[in-house]
């Protein structure tokens, strides 16, 4: 499944200073090809993140202070970690922790 993933507000600094990424999530091979945000976060950490993973994730979710939008809607309206990703979704991570 293909997704667009974007980082801004300083979060891009953790991802090689690249703001927009086109990513292809692998099939899980067990007949269950459903990806949720809960699965996406560690996948991004392990496959896309370049430095300081503790500034991206805390426990099994994003570090508090990072805002997440899926297709331009606040993920808090979409069930957060339980949201089931659809092909060509756009997921945006915005850090609020950098500079005022």
């Amino acid at each position: 499944m293909q997704l667009t993933v974007e980082f801004s507000g300083g979060a891009e600094l953790l991802f090689g200073n690249v703001k927009q990424h086109r990513v292809t999530l692998p099939d899980r091979g067990d007949g269950d090809s459903v990806w949720t945000m809960e699965g996406l976060l560690p996948w991004l950490r392990d496959n896309l993140l370049k430095e300081r993973p503790e500034l991206f994730m805390q426990g099994d979710t994003v570090r508090p202070g990072i805002l997440v939008l899926v297709n331009d809607a606040d993920w808090e309206l979409l069930g957060q970690l339980s949201y089931k990703l659809q092909p060509d979704d756009t997921v945006v991570f915005i850090s609020t922790l950098h500079g005022g």
Partner: protein, 345 residues
Amino acid sequence: MAPKCKTGCGKNAILKRPKTGDALCRECFFWAFETEVHNTVTAARLFRRGQYVAVAASGGKDSTVLAHVMKELNQRYDYGLRLVLLSIDEGITGYRDDSLETVKRNRDQYGIPLTVLSYEDLYGWTMDDIVKQVGLRNNCTFCGVFRRQALDRGAAQLGVDQIVTGHNADDIAETVVMNVLRGDIARLQRCTAISTGTEGSIPRSKPFKYTYEKEIVMYAYFKKLDYFSTECIYSPNAYRGYARAYLKDLEAIRATSIIDIIHSGESLAVRDAARLPTQGTCSRCQYISSQPVCKACVLLQGLNQGRPRLGIGKSSKVQERARETEGESGDRSEVDSATVTVGAG
């Protein structure tokens, strides 16, 4: 799928408001955000018609959104204000250069004139030069102390009636927590005030006092406002301390924590008998200071005498050292009171 907008306008919601939990669509969110700032401004009677107001502009998210919203509200509600952007150039190559470019774009986009003042103009030193002297351990102390005065000095040069800053609810809650941890009663009393600065100094106010950081960032995102975000090259990771992380953890559990902490700070009462430091003026530069010589002048003295650690540490020790060594060498300018009129008008 996202739920419908709480107002019943029929559109899909795009944001869950941290303060109320309401789900709002883009247009209803913009309206709610701007109207709340307007209500804060009018309830506190922050402005008077005809005032000349400087927006402290760093190119970051808070001040960029503030400049945008001030312009918007000034027109919509006819505040009758004359606005100017005021930026401070600390002289940090590769950091401030980029954010100043952002401020210049804001100037053009919003049609608000811009004044930039540099540390070099004001103090004779750029942050790059200071770091060469003091290294990377205490440079943030210098930067913070100089910035605080720089805004006032800039505002005095411009002759503005007041300064508005982009401090938001999260910033203020953070300051409350820090002052509790430090036991700093005097600051704890002052830090929740929406407007500060009395006799002699130019008032500063915070129209975003009750505005959540999340909403500021979402507003900038949905309005596609152009802001600059990076770490200061001299303090990577130092941008937020434990207090901020603690607050963000609290907010994740219960979003109203931020406002609750501000309200706690506001309702704090100090016994009449408690002794609070009195505010006087610095004997060298006339800037308001609770000590005989203000922190900026002590730091400058240290730099100019090649003893950069002079101003670092407990204030009683610092004052003592500053007195002992005063006049040993008076070369590069002390904060030059001749060029500045803070406190005079």
